[in-house]
């Protein structure tokens, strides 16, 4: 199974990025091979629609799940159309989040926000 998450740095010890669409990198972790790959998020400096473009990157990486602190409605629409499950991440490192997911300790993200278009994040 392939797990994806938005990260601030290219490291297993980094915290997950508070923004999905504007995260600098995505970590793709394969639970079978234990391999991790870091992808640049090409949407990081998008004028608009960053969530859509970022979600496209995730979809194109053939992942099964996304662990994220939050997710906007446009990104969620892309991910759900590709049958990618979105889980609410812990306020902790990428490694901790992978462990928590593997141990079945994460729950599905139930709060999809309407986006912060032109208003910045809180």
């Amino acid at each position: 199974m392939k797990i994806s998450m938005p990260v601030d740095l290219k490291s297993m010890d980094t915290n997950l990025c508070r923004s999905f669409g504007r995260a600098p990198y995505f970590l793709i972790y394969d639970t079978e091979s234990n391999e991790s790959v870091y992808l640049d998020n090409s949407a990081v400096a998008s004028q608009g629609g960053a969530g859509i473009k970022a979600a496209q990157t995730i979809v194109d990486s053939d992942v099964n799940v996304l662990l994220t602190p939050r997710c906007g409605e446009n990104a969620a629409r892309v991910l759900q159309a590709a049958d990618i499950k979105i889980y609410k991440s812990l306020n902790s490192s990428a490694k901790d989040n992978i462990d928590a997911f593997v141990d079945n300790k994460l729950s599905l993200l139930d709060e999809i926000h309407a986006g912060f278009h032109h208003h910045g994040g809180k």
């Binding site: 998008s46 608009g48 629609g49 859509i52 473009k53 979809v59 446009n74 629409r77 159309a81 590709a82």
Partner: protein
């Protein structure tokens, strides 16, 4: 002559100023660009209304022709398109209707469909032509409606008063683009100064001649006035925080049509604006 009335936030007095200025001018046009909640018509109560639908063009994909090359997805700089499970998905509210995806599709699989986002109402109220833009609730951007509103008055003779949306975002820029003069309406509070600062920066960026109308003036320190003096901004009018004016306004009446006192006050503002525009025309023809 096109005069835009703007302010950094709602409730400052844009509609009060633009409605009353239009009402004292012969053969004038009033355009309500505050398309999210237009309210100028509540004062004018225009007659003989003509309605026009406003639509935008949104791409649609013929799945039988699409080969999944993703040229459209790559082209869209607004990221309004995604490609999921062998299908192009269009995000209507992110699309800016540029038509680029349709042009670039090598398979000619994309075409455009019309999507209604609002309407324009045109009517008369005594000496004033009243044009109101109305955005459908839930739609993301009023820019296409404002573009059409401005186009309506492109070659209009006489005075046009543009009641801008609040703030300083795209919709405001669109509404002042063709204006010959901008009136900034400001409240006397610290918050009022902050909002005045925002629109002040905007009109400077657009290199528009402008002046400030101080609204809700009390007989005490006026921070917006102080800001104008410190920044050498011309003050073209002062509207008092006045019970009678408030009553007329909250009853949907146009003060210049009811009372000579207000007629004189707004005539004075209009005279100053006309003078400044003429002076500007001499300096920067």
């Amino acid at each position: 002559m096109k005069i835009a009335v703007l302010s950094g936030k709602g409730g400052t007095g844009k509609t009060l100023v633009s409605v009353n200025l239009a009402a004292i001018t012969k053969n004038s046009t009033y355009i309500d660009c505050d398309v999210e909640e237009p309210n100028g018509h509540l004062f004018f109560k225009p007659q003989n209304i003509q309605l026009e639908d406003i639509s935008i063009k949104i791409p649609t994909v013929d799945e039988k022709l699409c080969t999944g090359c993703r040229k459209c997805v790559e082209f869209c700089k607004f990221n309004a398109l995604a490609y999921i499970k062998d299908k192009v998905v269009v995000f209507d509210e992110v699309c800016h209707s540029c038509g680029g995806c349709v042009l670039f599709c090598p398979q000619k699989a994309m075409s455009e469909r019309e999507k209604k986002i609002g309407s324009i109402e045109k009517g008369n109220s005594e000496n004033v032509t009243v044009v109101t833009g109305i955005l459908k609730p839930g739609e993301a951007s009023g820019v296409p409606i404002i573009k059409q509103l401005i186009k309506e008055v492109e070659n209009k003779e006489g005075f046009t008063f543009i009641d801008s949306p609040p703030g300083s975002a795209c919709v405001v820029m669109e509404s002042i683009k063709d204006a010959d003069y901008c009136i900034l309406v400001a409240e006397p509070t610290l918050f009022g100064v902050h909002n005045l600062q925002m629109v002040h920066e905007l009109v400077k960026l657009f290199k528009k001649p402008y002046g400030v109308v101080l609204n809700k003036c009390l007989n005490e320190e006026n921070l917006a006035e102080k800001f104008c003096i410190e920044n050498d901004i011309s003050i073209i009018g002062r509207i008092p925080f006045d019970h009678q004016l408030g009553m007329l306004n909250s009853n949907g009446m146009i003060s210049v049509r009811e009372n000579d006192k207000y007629r004189d006050m707004f005539s004075d503002i209009l005279q100053k604006v006309t003078k400044e525009v003429q002076r500007e025309a001499t300096i920067n023809p």
